[in-house]
């Protein structure tokens, strides 16, 4: 039995596997299938100030090796989460990461103020359209990444701030540095890549929103490269994700510099994906004589 625990901005995770935002809800449904307290953490569905109904359906499509989604942030709102779900989630003994999203910078600040001290970490989703960026995502331009990190960090007296980077950018290293300079305690990446899938009989995009976020196994090499670049551009910890389906995938991210990982789409392919990844990490460490998984972080040897 290897020691899988990792420390992330002062938060102790029993293992580095975190359920990725939007794929595990608030954890309740997966808990009907396995006890989610085996997980290192849960990142919640993106929370907004007011409840949101999200996009019309279809909200999902498939392409070989990947999926596309455009849920449009359907969620009950941050107040409802605090009132109805947080207590239950706390009883599960997993690190609780509240994923938050807003239409304006003020939205982000207000949500963070509400959640400060209540959750283990805040994860900013800056990949959604924002008024400040003229309807574009805040996560694209480094100056916007800096600004949203700064304004939210100012609200967080007790809870560490994780800024989730969008991969649809010019330089992931520049944006990673912008988050750090704005005050992020750590960063996570990658959010989904923007894509499109077409039904040629109808000559229409499959997803009602036309475009959707691409995720799943096929995006992994892009994600690993970005995690590597981001991790070597900043001094704060990095949480890696994008296409992780098994322990070996998770280890690629850890060796590239990630302290912990998130698993999203794989939960749809196999509901037990995360417990299996945790078991697999343990088996790999035992087989390779690794006592502490944390020792593997950033051990990549470049050619």
């Amino acid at each position: 039995m290897a020691n899988l625990s990792v420390e992330l901005c002062g938060v102790n995770l029993k293992n580095p596997v975190i359920g990725a935002s939007g794929t595990v809800g608030f954890g309740r449904e997966f808990d009907e299938i396995y006890d989610i307290s085996v997980l290192g953490g849960i990142s919640t569905k993106g929370l907004t100030l007011e409840p949101r109904l999200g996009n019309p359906v279809p909200r999902i499509a498939e392409s070989r090796g990947v999926i596309l989604n455009a849920v449009g942030l359907q969620n009950p709102g941050v107040d409802s989460f605090i009132e109805k779900d947080l207590g239950w989630l706390k009883s599960k003994n997993v690190a609780i990461i509240a994923n938050v999203a807003g239409r304006t910078l003020e939205d982000y600040a207000q949500i963070c103020a509400k959640l400060d001290g209540l959750v283990d970490m805040i994860e900013l989703n800056i990949s959604c359209p924002n008024v400040r960026a003229g309807g574009m995502a805040l996560g694209i331009k480094p100056e916007n990444v800096f600004e949203v990190s700064k304004i939210t960090k100012a609200q967080l007296k007790k809870t560490p701030l994780m800024v989730k980077l969008s991969p649809n950018v010019e330089s992931i290293a520049t944006n990673a540095r912008a988050a750090q300079e704005g005050g992020a305690d750590c960063i996570s990446l990658i959010n989904t890549l923007t894509g499109m899938a077409i039904d040629i009989e109808r000559r229409k995009p499959i997803i009602a929103n036309n475009t959707g976020g691409v995720s799943g196994a096929g995006v992994k090499p892009i994600a690993v490269r970005m995690v590597y670049e981001a991790a070597h551009a900043v001094s704060i910890p990095v949480v890696g994700m994008g296409g992780i389906t098994c322990a070996e995938d998770a280890l690629e991210f850890i060796m590239a510099g990630a302290t912990a990982v998130q698993v999203g789409t794989a939960n749809f392919t196999d509901t037990m994906a995360m417990p299996k990844i945790i078991q697999g990490l343990n088996a790999w460490c035992d087989k390779h004589g690794v006592k502490n998984l944390a020792e593997l972080r950033d051990t990549l040897i470049l050619n």
């Binding site: 939007g22 794929t23 595990v24 809800g25 309740r28 449904e29 997966f30 009907e32 299938i33 569905k45 109904l53 999200g54 359906v57 279809p58 909200r59 999902i60 499509a61 498939e62 070989r64 090796g65 990947v66 999926i67 989604n69 849920v71 359907q74 969620n75 799943g216 196994a217 789409t265 794989a266 939960n267 749809f268 392919t269 196999d270 509901t271 037990m272």
Partner: protein, 253 residues
């Protein structure tokens, strides 16, 4: 709800473009009429599992029937006996017939007949009077007649009149109701235009009517909010978890 690695026992064509697949889960998993499962296509390039109704559950063996539509169902039709497939089941709420409801009308069309067969399977032995109105595209699409004939009364229709009555299932059902054959409850599954016609036909009548909906899915268990439908009260419901069966009065089709 359980995640299992099922063993394929039989995979055969039963009508034009319709496949019947039986697998063993290795344990008895109770499934109610109208519930569904998520099944892998057998090819790792498909990251999403396909939602398919449970047609029959006998001991450890489950049978599903599906239409060959896109890449995934064509792939699934090729899976040989002995192969392993990951399956998540049972999912959704299913159809319920109350003690007080004796006479049950089943209205189905297209692939909607498969969950409806599970209702006949569960409720015919319980002594319910089952009147089935089943629509097919044409004669070559007809399948599962032996299962459908376990109904108390069966009316088959085809869109082109090549078999049975030349009309659709809703028209056959409404005509029968107009003749005085009024059920205590109506259960239905089929293409959205069919469900819409049924919903409209039932609007003025005081007979409970339940419809089973289809939507593209991610997780299948209620976590990802991908599969929502619009409810008449302005909120969204999850087809996979709150459905797939809804009171026809509660949903906008």
């Amino acid at each position: 709800m359980k995640e299992v690695l099922a063993t394929v026992l039989e995979n055969k064509r039963i009508a034009e473009n319709i496949q019947s697949l039986t697998f063993s889960t290795g344990e008895v998993i109770p499934v109610r009429a109208g519930q569904f499962l998520n099944i892998s296509t057998g090819n790792g390039v498909h990251l999403l599992r396909r939602p398919i109704a449970v047609c029959k559950a006998e001991g450890e063996n489950i049978t599903i029937c599906f239409q060959l539509k896109g890449e995934g169902t064509h792939q699934l039709a090729l899976v040989p006996a002995g192969a392993k497939l990951s399956v998540l089941l049972p999912l959704g709420n299913g159809f319920f017939v109350k003690e007080s409801e004796q006479k049950v009308a089943l209205v189905a069309g297209g692939v909607g007949i498969f969950p409806i067969i599970s209702v006949i399977w569960e409720y015919a032995p319980k002594g319910k009077q089952i009147h089935s109105y089943i629509g097919f595209r044409n004669r070559s699409a007809i399948c599962c007649l032996d299962e459908l004939e376990k109904s108390t009364a069966l009316t088959v229709t085809t869109d082109d009149g090549s078999y049975g009555l030349h009309m659709n299932a809703v028209q056959a059902f409404v005509a029968d109701m107009d003749r005085g054959n009024v059920p205590d409850v109506v259960l239905s599954c089929g293409p959205t235009p069919m469900l819409r016609a049924l919903q409209a036909a039932m609007q003025q009548r005081d007979i409970p009517c339940y419809v089973s909906l289809e939507e593209r899915m991610g997780c299948g268990i209620g976590a990802c909010l991908v599969c929502v439908c619009n409810q008449t009260n302005g909120t969204h419901a999850r087809v996979c978890k709150d459905g797939p069966v809804f009171n026809a009065k509660d949903v906008q089709l």
